[in-house]
Symmetry: C2
Subunit: 194 residues, 2 copies
DNA sequence: CGTTGGCTTGAGAGGGCTCAAGGCCAGTGG
DNA sequence: CCACTGGCCTTGAGCCCTCTCAAGCCAACG
């Protein structure tokens, strides 16, 4: 069974592959589609896959003891998403991942990723680079969480993630920045008045 | 020129190597010692190395526009430290790294790490695993930054990093948690009264 | 045209900040 | 052996940012 993988080359867009390699890749990436509002990973699920976003918008979030949601990550076109902590450590999901609009994803399983590493070693470097960048991005976020007021974090978010801002609700952004929707609303009002 | 690498096996402590592999490893790890208070990486340096802590205590920190320091990471025995953002992306350091006590480290250069990957492939998996764990730890820290009050973050820090707490000053911990020394002091008082 | 979801606004409370002062060592030199 | 010093931690007072809780607004939609 073969899914339509016509856009599979987007996943590794700066890399070139032999026909044989492409067929290997096509065999491990599977296209999946979701409706807006679907939970593609739920807390406590085992996490078999990581997902590449071909189209749509998603978020991963943590729900705390009081039922409040805290957004870890957004994903739009060309971003990867999963509960990576669970995915990496073979433990159960601590995050939920929901689609914020109808979305088309490629999924690849942990085992198939290892297989890819063996068959096409440069793909291991590719994923390592992705991880290194994600690590740096997280560090930057920690830094701004502990050193900058909410208004600056919001401005930085707008600048850095303009495309994402267009797809998501303000309360999603608030839960990403670690503030309430009310506070975000007041910050926006303040910024607009300048 | 050969440094004393008698404890090199600690670095990869659950792995086993052939004599030939050990000699490869010994050739790329170099022991370096620092006095308390030394800056082993300074802002704007090019970052050639990552460091394995054999003994001692270090911290990496960011200094903001107002001159305030924000601790990103501590390192004691068996931890790795560097300005990884700079190290990974071949850019200049945005962090300082200082020794909080006399310290003995192994350093390995970026090039030598690549070389190791080629010669001993399982070491690439080893470093990938380290990076995955560090990524998860950062995610956890982001989560607690945006969802928990300082007192809880402090308690969590004490529980998780008991060994580190013993080596560092309270104002280092405060700068790691993202609060002032005064606030930390009050939190400690509060906790002690229970 | 009422309901619902998302955003805004207001009032009051609280956690953490700033600034300023004081206390407690450990180390050092007379 | 003691006074002094500097580094570190604590305490206090006042303020500000963000939170909570509550209400109101508006556009979309069945």
């Amino acid at each position: 069974m073969k899914t339509d993988n016509s856009k599979i080359k987007n996943v590794f867009k700066d890399m070139s592959f032999s026909p044989k390699e492409i067929s290997i890749i096509e065999n491990v990436f599977h296209k999946v589609t979701f409706k807006k509002g679907d939970l593609i990973i739920k807390v406590n699920d085992s996490v078999e896959y990581q997902y590449y976003t071909l189209d749509g918008c998603l978020r991963s979030f943590y729900t705390d003891e009081e039922g409040k949601e805290h957004t870890i990550q957004f994903a739009i076109c060309d971003w990867w998403i999963s509960d990576f902590t669970a995915f990496f450590s073979d433990s159960n999901a601590i995050l939920n991942i929901e689609t914020l609009r109808d979305s088309v994803l490629y999924k690849i399983s942990k085992e198939d990723r290892e297989l890819l590493y063996k068959e096409i070693p440069k793909i291991e470097s590719f994923f390592r680079l992705k991880l290194e960048r994600a690590f740096s991005a997280f560090q930057k976020r920690i830094l701004s969480n502990i050193s900058k007021p909410a208004s600056e974090r919001y401005m930085q978010f707008r600048k850095t993630y303009t495309n994402i801002e267009r797809c998501v609700k303000n309360y999603h952004i608030a839960s990403y920045l670690g503030i309430t929707t009310e506070s975000l609303s007041r910050i926006r009002k303040e910024l607009a008045s300048k």
